[in-house]
């Protein structure tokens, strides 16, 4: 398939996933704030750190308060990672592959964009945040469900799933990293009921609270890290995302597990193999932050080699590449 089409499919899915995650992080934060005792101060700065846009935020806003943060992350088109910006990008990518995706998907991505665009016209104030963010998350689920059920699971679909899974793995890693290092080490909370609330909010940021409960019961920090990082069955766990991403990559080239035919497969296969044999003790031995940091670096590297392998074909290699196809 055309490189441009593959790239658009990949980014279309990535941007929808990104919009959904931003909505989820904000929704979880609203819940947490309502449960914190008054006088502790609202935690809005960590949200900006999670998305990695601290510098950009400081350029346009002076204070990390609710109004500014919610506006920046939801409607501000100067922020390329705001929900609205992500949906604009997702929609433009979808438009350029309109003949590849199903008409249902096209309709849904339009509806999704118009939902957030419509809300942005009300001055950036959200009357019922929970209702709005749930609507955003559900619109994303509907889009993903439509991709699953109305589009042929060919190369284009695989590129979309690859993009979605890499984005999700990255966002889950950020949620754990930021929450753990910025929110939690307020020593005075450790062992208090608020400790429990804060850990619960990490799980909720990844829609993982109930599934974690079923699996482990008690809220225990090590087990939360294990669940969100190493679980193979929970759909937002990093390990699970990498398994599916690697599967899509191999489906595209038809390569067996454990082998590779290009640099993208090598990078992602190696990363997955490492995670396959990692335990929570290994993570603690390296240090959680160091582990997550290394993981994100490798995810970024994987994204780069995917770009070089599939999306950007230099003209100079033309002759040799065509010969290998004969």
């Amino acid at each position: 398939m055309l490189s441009r089409v593959a790239e658009s499919m990949y980014w279309m899915a990535r941007y929808v996933e990104r919009a959904e995650n931003v909505a989820r992080i904000m929704d979880a934060n609203y819940h947490m704030i309502l449960d914190l005792p008054t006088g502790i101060g609202e935690q809005w700065e960590p949200l900006i750190v999670t998305t990695g846009d601290e510098e950009l935020f400081k350029k346009h806003y002076s204070e990390f308060n609710e109004e500014n943060v919610v506006k920046f992350l939801t409607f501000d088109t100067r922020n390329p990672n705001s929900i609205l910006s992500c949906l604009q990008m997702a929609r433009e990518n979808a438009r350029s592959v309109r003949e590849w995706i199903s008409s249902e998907m096209w309709l849904q991505i339009n509806t999704f964009y118009l939902l957030v665009k419509g809300a942005s016209r009300r001055g950036g104030y959200i009357e019922l945040p929970h209702e709005f963010f749930v609507e955003v998350m559900m619109a994303s689920h509907l889009f993903t469900g439509l991709s699953q059920n109305t589009m042929t699971h060919g190369d284009g679909w695989q590129f979309a799933r690859l993009g979605r899974m890499l984005e999700r793995a990255d966002k889950t890693a950020r949620i754990i990293d930021v929450k753990y290092f910025i929110l939690l080490p307020s020593i005075e909370y450790i062992g208090t009921p608020f400790d429990h609330i804060l850990w619960g909010s990490i799980l909720r940021s990844a829609s993982a609270f109930e599934m974690y409960r079923k699996r482990y019961g008690q809220v225990v920090p090590d087990q939360i890290i294990e669940f969100l990082t190493l679980d193979t069955e929970f759909p937002r766990a990093i390990h699970h995302c990498l398994i599916i991403a690697e599967l899509s990559l191999r489906n595209i080239s038809g390569t067996m597990r454990g082998r590779f035919t290009n640099r993208a497969e090598k990078a992602l296969g190696r990363l997955l193999a490492d995670i396959d044999y990692t335990t929570v003790e290994d993570i603690k031995a390296v240090g959680l932050h160091e582990f997550l940091d290394g993981l994100q670096t490798r995810l970024n590297h994987t994204g780069e080699v995917i770009y070089e392998t599939f999306f950007s074909i230099p003209a100079a290699t033309a002759a040799t590449q065509e010969q290998t196809q004969l």
Partner: protein, 487 residues
């Protein structure tokens, strides 16, 4: 309601004669529309429009920050052309496209027609669509213009006239195909009774034509539609045609020329392309040869084309025959190349380039439509009777300054078709754009795009100025032919 109170307004009406009697071929449809309650008609009109929106048959509105997409308004009353009339149009179009192709091929080779003094040399060589870069090129089969969308109008005398030839990148065929889908759904019984000639195989014929053009020996030639991109107003059509033909839709950035071969960048490396159906103007296709600032083009494309490694539909250089001053000479071309009289007439045209004509035009600006020779789609023209004194005077100055750039035609009394307006039918002016494919043989799609000026009294059918469209039915008429019913 219905047609009892319908008023043809002194114009040629496509459905009724001046005595309000249905014309041959339209009886079944008139009966059907008469038998349906008003509410039902309005309901079907609405559901037809809703279906078009859901199918995504939209065009984007430029400068709309909201990203709104609108449908091209659609009217449920079909425009009906009886088979016997159509046969003449079809013959006329075939004759015309054959002569035009011979003209273009001659022009880029021996220029016999210029040497024999049939068409003034300076007039042709000064046309903005003339490409000296194309001299000596030999497109496959000697065919330059493979896909044409000729604009026809019917005048007050009931005759069809050619208004524009559109030999570059005519658009609109996707509306014809989708309008038909919607009409079949909305009026299955009227449709069935009228015995309408099918248009559904157009994409298939187009694909066959494109494959026929391939110069490679590959068993399955690689064919692609080339679009300027998602921001082009006809992007929906490009995407639709690629989808219907099951071929790739490419942009300039997807293509690269290596060793005089056009390749597309795929996830498994570069793959050769044999034929491009390009929906992008000559000016922008290759910055090495044409406009060097083109961001849409593919450097080296013309090298590959000259080397015979890729085929282009349409060939570069066809725009010369779209020049409105050259258009005036098409009847002479038909006589010169085919030794025949033109079956379809031109609209009477004054070439401001000729002194006598210029004087006449300047003296009659209030009665004429004056057009720039290189423009199409209703741009840059003066509709004399509807313009103010000041507008006419200013336009007259432009004409005097550069007479070569202008032609003038009488204001035409375009024919009308009943159109559902609120809760009754009113006549609205229409034109007709049939599509012609020229490959192994010449195929004329039966019918084509009927555009309708929805504003009362308006003669402008363009979508940007209140135009809409209708389904066009070519129907069998009269008694069953010898040898039994062909259906």
């Amino acid at each position: 309601m219905r047609f009892q109170s319908y008023d043809t307004g002194g114009f040629y009406d496509e459905m009724f004669d001046s005595q309000l009697q249905p014309r041959p071929g339209v009886e079944a449809v008139v009966d059907r529309f008469n038998s349906l309650p008003l509410e039902e008609l309005k309901y079907r009109q609405q559901s037809a429009e809703k279906a078009l929106l859901q199918m995504g048959i939209t065009f984007s509105v430029y400068g709309d920050e909201q990203g709104t997409e609108r449908i091209f308004p659609f009217d449920i009353v079909p425009r009906i052309i009886p088979q016997n009339e159509w046969a003449e149009i079809e013959a006329g179009l075939k004759q015309r496209i054959k002569a035009l192709n011979m003209f273009i091929d001659d022009l880029y080779h021996d220029q016999k027609i210029l040497k024999d003094g049939i068409i003034p040399e300076e007039l042709v060589l000064s046309a903005s669509g003339y490409r000296p870069e194309c001299v000596g090129l030999n497109p496959p089969g000697g065919i330059w213009c493979h896909i044409t969308g000729t604009d026809l109008v019917r005048g007050g005398d009931g005759k069809f006239y050619v208004l524009e030839d559109n030999l570059r990148c005519p658009s609109g065929v996707s509306y014809v195909l989708e309008n038909r889908v919607v009409m079949k759904r909305s009026f299955p019984r009227a449709f069935d009774a009228a015995r309408v000639a099918p248009v559904v195989d157009y994409p298939n014929r187009l694909l066959k034509l494109l494959q026929f053009m391939a110069r490679s020996t590959r068993e399955k030639p690689v064919v692609a539609v080339w679009t300027p991109g998602v921001y082009n107003s006809a992007y929906f059509e490009h995407s639709f045609l690629a989808q219907q033909m099951g071929i790739e839709l490419v942009e300039g950035s997807d293509l690269v020329v290596v060793d005089d071969r056009v390749m597309m960048r795929t996830t498994t490396g570069l793959k050769p392309v044999d034929v491009l159906y390009r929906r992008i103007d000559d000016d922008f296709i290759d910055p090495e040869v044409f406009r060097s600032d083109s961001m849409l083009g593919v450097p080296g494309l013309m090298r590959a084309y000259r080397a015979g490694r890729v085929a282009l539909a349409n060939a570069p250089g066809t725009g010369v025959a779209d020049d409105k001053a050259v258009y005036a000479y098409v009847p002479e071309m038909i006589r010169y190349y085919l030794d025949q009289d033109a079956i379809l007439n031109n609209v009477e045209t004054y070439l401001c380039w000729r002194d006598k004509d210029l004087q006449h035009v300047l003296a009659n600006l209030d009665k004429l439509v004056v057009k720039k020779v290189g423009e199409s789609g209703g741009y840059g023209m003066l509709v004399g009777p509807h313009a103010s004194e000041k507008e006419r005077a200013e336009y007259g100055e432009q004409v005097k300054a550069n007479p070569r750039n202008f032609i003038a035609q009488p204001t035409l009394a375009l024919s009308r078709v009943p159109t559902l307006i609120d809760d009754h039918f009113e006549g609205r002016h229409v034109d007709l754009r049939p599509y012609v494919l020229y490959g192994e043989d010449i195929y004329v799609m039966p019918g084509g795009l009927t555009r309708v000026a929805l504003k009362k009294g308006s003669l402008v059918v363009n979508s940007s100025q209140g135009g809409g469209s209708k389904d066009t039915w070519v129907v069998e008429t009269g008694s069953v032919q010898e040898g039994g019913d062909q259906c």
